[in-house]
Symmetry: C3
Subunit: 338 residues, 3 copies
């Protein structure tokens, strides 16, 4: 069911504190994460090989981790280096260690065959401390299958409806202005103009209406990197449907990662912000607060959708032309599952 051979986001890097062992679960596999003294992140299976006590309840001893049930001790490479009361340590005494990479501000874990782990295949993302931007970050837990959250991000026509109270977007536009979709390695790129879009809040200073250029990449399992730039009216028409040239007066960025925990649990990591010169910390807090409200609206809808699906799991959905993105992505996921 799960795609093993993929990099999954386990945490924001700042969430993995030195001196602590963190329990996480990805695709039904429990993980224990900690930092060695040089700051590198180690990801073990969260299950002592002896009696299956969670290693996340253990103790760090320098770079090693000791299970605090019967005291077996493991080096960062997963080998058992001490069994109390026993001199001989068998070869089989080890815990699975998963490949880890810290790229951007995320801790990525490779859940598949170690030999196949290739950190260069990790999708692009933005570091939270990138000096060009001002960003805030958090995460949200869903009681839903991760592909329902992916569906949501792969069809932004829902913005007008699901978020009418928070984002206050002009209703038909996100549905009417279909994005141009091109394939990426394990993903899709979406780009579109939303011409004459009304402004609100502190964006109002750009005028009552602007032309909005929206572009995002969406890569398996749910890595979303979006930039949305705001331009004077007429820019869309002048650009002939293509990416705008020149500096926009406002440049927003969003990055998100959807991580499957189990069949009905997922973690949603998100950051939002803007180009440093376009926003001050107070406005960023407002922008981020509204964004969080909107994400909670998605959560309410998607968790309810999951329950409704589960009442009758084999019933076919009605396809519409809105579903181009989700449908193409589901096919890609199916191909990865093989």
């Amino acid at each position: 069911m799960w795609v093993q051979d993929a990099w999954y986001v386990a945490a924001w890097t700042h969430e993995i504190e030195p001196g602590r062992i963190h329990a996480r679960t990805i695709i039904d596999q429990p993980l224990a994460l900690y930092r060695t003294t040089d700051g590198a992140v180690v990801a073990f299976e969260d299950r002592c090989c002896h009696r299956f006590a969670p290693l996340s309840l253990g103790r760090l001893e320098g770079d090693d981790l000791r299970c605090m049930y019967h005291g077996l001790k493991f080096a960062p490479d997963g080998r058992c280096i001490e069994i109390p009361g026993q001199k001989l340590i068998p070869q089989s005494a080890c815990v699975r260690r998963y490949p880890v990479a810290v790229v951007g501000s995320w801790v990525w874990i490779w859940m598949g065959d170690t030999a196949a782990a290739d950190a260069t295949s990790i999708p692009s993302s933005l570091a939270l401390d990138d000096p060009a931007y001002r960003l805030m970050a958090s995460h949200l837990d869903y009681a839903a299958h991760y592909l329902l959250i992916d569906d949501n991000l792969l069809d932004l026509s829902h913005l007008s409806f699901a978020h009418e109270k928070t984002l206050g977007l002009d209703m038909p536009q996100w549905a009417d202005q279909r994005p141009h979709v091109v394939p990426l390695e394990r993903g899709l790129r979406f780009q579109r103009w939303l011409a004459n879009h009304p402004t609100r809040g502190f964006m109002r200073k750009l005028g009552e209406r602007v032309d909005v250029w929206n572009s995002y990449d969406f890569v398996f399992p749910g890595i979303f990197l979006q930039r949305t730039t705001f331009h004077p009216q007429g820019t869309a028409e002048r650009s002939g449907g293509r990416e705008p040239e020149g500096e926009p007066p406002f440049y927003r960025v969003d990055e998100q990662a959807v991580t499957p925990i189990s069949a009905r649990a997922s973690r949603y990591f998100y950051a939002a912000g803007a180009r440093r010169d376009d926003i001050d910390p107070g406005k960023l807090e407002r922008l981020f607060g509204v964004t969080q409200l909107a994400f909670n609206e998605d959560k309410t809808l998607i968790e309810a959708q999951q329950k409704t699906i589960d009442l009758d799991p084999t019933r076919p959905m009605l396809g519409t032309s809105l579903d181009a993105g989700p449908t193409r992505f589901r096919k890609l996921v199916e191909s990865l599952q093989r």
Copy 2:
């Protein structure tokens, strides 16, 4: 397992407020209920045909309902009348609409084949605003199969035991005075005299003991309409076991409806009161308060009974002569399930 072809009580009419969409579940089917501008109640399947978001999280637009995930809009007959970003609306774009009838003070929903819906087959009940009576109403949710609640109502011998602390009924009488049972269309009628029954509370003004005539109809799936009249001692004997003639000094009414939600969840609607001239609002509140205490005693017992049954679901029960009502009704339910 469920009987589809039946009218089920979904709500007290006053519970379905204008301008809101109400989520209910009957026999495992999720429903979205709302009123059109003329007050008529519409019952949709609570599942948008597009991506299965619940319609109960949607928005009313006049008489129509818009799903607030991707914006599909449905007319009161269930037809989709708008798909944002798409001109053509396929025939298959619709949600199931269930036949609804408001009869008495209940909203009834026909869960079976629409062509077979016949509002004239709805069982009798009493409107809460019937000028002849003073009534109070509420509902209670059970974590139990609805037939266990039906069993309870089909054998009132439990009154002496389950409610000894609240109703304080004379213990052996409800078991000893077996009711006369006659079949009804999809139900049973129970009638009996309880002679020389002790009185309590404000009924004491009728004397220390009275003759009580108890008569109720019980119709699938669990519609209970009861009148209990109180008479001077000797009336039972003079009536020769038959229904009393003439006006009783006190006339109590009870109506209840048991609605299956799922295999282990049911909703129990109830109203209790008396002939308007026999009771004032203060006494009605006391009568209703005691009634609610007693219903919570039933709930405790029946939910515990459900758990005990579930520990060993195939074990046969011991039949006694108390079970005539429940046994006959279960046979009727079996015949309806075919």
Copy 3:
């Protein structure tokens, strides 16, 4: 799956109060326990034979128990002696009665074939009011299979690790000093010396280090009776590994019983204390308080271990030489299951 033919601890005797009916569950069988007027404990199946209402919601009438749903009444031998509204009581109208014995301070229930119940086979234990000791007692509920708790008690090497913060035991000793293990009827005896063990708390008066003799019997399903005596340094060596002679300056006792409730629920009864002259009530409270903290550490670990096992129930554990006790006991349990 369960061993039926065994005595299980249902309660501390003081928990079964006169005049009340107590609900307990042992190996998935619900029980209703009460005392007759002479103080004897009766254990019924907690399920009326009529409609399966729990008898624990019933009423005591002298030595008899009445089900308070429809009023069936049962004598202490389980026979039904009254069915309201019915003269004839069929032979089959009875509830299962389980053999009960009060031995030590525990109420024991035989869950198997009544004919095979033999109270002389009940394992040894200590009465809480034994004048030679000062003891305190309580119980703890686990969301785990009882054999995981047994495993814990059958390998005390975990003491150094799981309880480092509470018991502060010298780390390697409990793992390094392997116990001498001998078989018992349905159990195992563990004995060992821990020489030069550091003291703490009020034990410090015995010197900075002592020789500790630890001996316990562990009998199916999880009856643990332990004495731990503290001796001047050198005693272990002088005793040549055998049980010490003469009176120790401090003598601690522990008794525990693990009772399976269901596949993922167990109750853990425990008492701890010391020889009466070795401890005063204030020190006993401190000793017991620390003991309870330690037992909660076990609970955290074992419940987490259960969850980890359940994620992948067929995965084999790594055997170590620590596991001699658990492994031998599991074989014994397997032989009893046949």
